[in-house]
Amino acid sequence: MTEVLLEIDNLSVDYETGRGDLKALRNISFSLNKGEIVGIVGESGCGKSTLISSILRLTAPNTRFREGEVRFKGRNLLNISEQDMRSLRGSDISIVFQDPMQTHNPVLTIGRQMLDIQHRSSATKAEKLHRAAEMLSAVGIPDPQARLKQFPHEFSGGMRQRIAIAMALMSEPDLLIADEPTTALDATLEVQIIEHLRSLQQDMNCAVLFISHHLGVIAELCDRVVVMYAGAVVESGDVREIFGNPKHPYTRRLIDCDPGHIKERARVLPTIPGEVPDLANLPKGCIFRERCDQAMPRCTASVPPLQTIAEITGHRAACWLNHEEMAS
């Protein structure tokens, strides 16, 4: 039986700015089961970062939670005490950041940092160091005992990201948030990171929320996918459904745009013309309307709800086209 670990329920988050409220997230709903890998895919400005910082409650001072809940193991993280939140971070929920070059403290050895991260454990220093070395070898760092004595600058970017993964997984968290962990790396290193992440995830049975704008990586790693555009979920469902049978024009166009998709040399590559709308001054109706080539009068009139398309696969999309299809 699948057990829900994280549930984002109708979450709306604004940033207060001089120009008025910037509606960064609007009615976001999705869930993550225990031991599952869910990918969040979307381009700049879609709200990926706001979503992560809302889950961890590490938000900027001008952030306003307007509506909804973030439930982790049934508890709403948005109204627990700061102390309780702090005891969750790094033990039950941990994170791997985008930039491996800035994740580690440059003036402490890797060993020191891996000891520090175990501050909650009652094990002896020797045991903690042993555990650190074990984790390093689990992410494929050769000669871990000697490496523990080295500083971050003595490691390559790919190694540093693998160390960041090792550190995030030390406490055997139930949820790992991976925020574009491969964006700063070459394709060959990206493959290594994905392999390590997958094998550790299977060993520890931890759930992963994998954020990326790279469709290829999402397709390869994830069980389910949530597609975001300009602060809203436009489509979500099983990875095969999303890539094989996309039901939102944005998802379709995004997949078309990926040059990995086009095998023959193309003179003209597909694009999505236009810009993401201003979130401080939301247009009426569907958020994707202005860039959509299938927009209808109805799209201007009201915002399409995220509607279930296939019950079995949990495929949902927010587009009026699907309503028309179902009606006819």
């Binding site: 381009e43 700049s44 050769p142 390559s156 970017g157 790919g158 190694m159 790396l185 070459d186 394709a187 060959t188 290193l189 990206e190 493959v191 290594q192 392999e195 704008h213 790279h214 469709l215 290829g216 990586v217 999402i218 397709a219 390869e220 990875v239 095969r240 890539f243 094989g244 166009r253 995004l254 997949i255 745009c257 990926d258 040059p259 990995g260 998709h261 086009i262 040399r265 193309a266 003179r267 003209v268 590559l269 597909p270 694009t271 999505i272 013309p273 810009e275």
Partner: protein
């Protein structure tokens, strides 16, 4: 005669041999892609061509004229013909100048006083599909994609014959990436531009480059037409790079060739074939130093070449 001819180019910073002899040429109107991992020397090659990085040895000929180590005075008139697009789109624009000033600065530097700069700015913005009121904007008011297009406009200002583009699509969203590549393809056709493009995104290379060179530790290890490299690459490193290319399809059968270990340090270059320690196909013969061999326009530096 080739437009650009790079011959045995070597660069070292102290004891670090960043480039250990790079040779290739680019014909007029041709797009040549340099690919390889971080630290393989791609950026140093194009910076050395533009005279922005030192090159202690070898030759760089542009239109037959030697420009390696040329004085700034001698280089300045040539900078009309060779334009550079830098990797960081926003960082390469001065934050205190408007877009209009930024894209017309090349005219001032070249002393072209007869030009109407407002008119030129308008023309250039139009060329890269930006509205003309963008001339009054500052770099911080631009999105990543817009800043890229400003970079393209500035590179095109003096109608160069050769563009050196360092990761022109890095950091761009896929929906915008195509737009920039289409723009470059279009300009190349209309203006007959030649380009050297650096990228580690092989999916991009396939759509823009005529020929490509694969670099490893400051050397070319394979070179050929893009079509040939994708179809019948022979160097194990090229195969690894190609196999790391992901596809937006959950059922894609990816036959991955895993690279062993990390790129070696440039300070302690391995003996023999420098890729040997990471190569899944290396044999005892690879302890010898492989030489560059060219067959039907397909260059290769390997002692354990693969067949399709």
């Amino acid at each position: 005669m080739s437009l650009l001819q790079v011959q045995d180019l070597k660069t070292s910073y102290g004891k670090v041999n960043v480039l250990a002899g790079v040779s290739f040429q680019v014909e007029p109107g041709e797009t040549y892609a340099l690919v390889g991992e971080s630290g393989s020397g791609k950026t140093t090659v194009i910076r050395a061509i533009a005279g922005l990085a030192p090159a202690q040895h070898g030759s760089v000929k542009f239109n037959g004229m030697e420009i390696r180590g040329a004085s700034e005075r001698k280089l300045r008139p040539l900078r009309k013909d060779i334009a550079m697009m830098f990797q960081d789109p926003v960082g390469s624009l001065s934050p205190r100048l408007t877009v209009g000033r930024l894209i017309t600065e090349p005219y001032k530097i070249q002393g072209m006083k007869d030009r109407d700069l407002n008119l030129e700015a308008k023309r250039l913005l139009e060329m890269v599909n930006l509205p003309s009121h963008f001339a009054d904007r500052f770099p911080y008011q631009l999105s990543g994609g817009q800043a890229r297009r400003v970079g393209v406009a500035r590179a095109l200002a003096l109608e160069p014959k050769l563009i050196l583009a360092d990761e022109p699509t890095a950091g761009l969203d896929v929906s915008v990436q195509g737009e920039l590549l289409n723009l470059l393809n279009d300009l190349r056709e209309r203006l007959g531009l030649a380009m050297v493009i650096i990228t580690h995104n092989l999916n991009v290379v396939r759509h823009v480059a005529d020929r490509m060179g694969i670099m490893y530790l400051g050397r070319l290890v394979e070179e050929g037409t893009t079509e040939e490299i994708f179809r019948a690459s022979r160097h194990p490193y090229t195969r690894c790079l190609l196999s790391a290319n992901s596809e937006p399809d959950p059922d894609a059968r990816l036959e991955r060739i895993a690279l062993k270990g990390e790129p070696p340090s440039l300070l302690t270059r391995p003996h023999g074939c420098e890729f040997r320690e990471r190569c899944p196909f290396a044999h005892s013969g690879c302890e010898r130093v492989p030489v560059w061999e060219v067959e039907n326009g397909h260059g290769l530096r390997c002692l354990a070449p693969l067949t399709s």
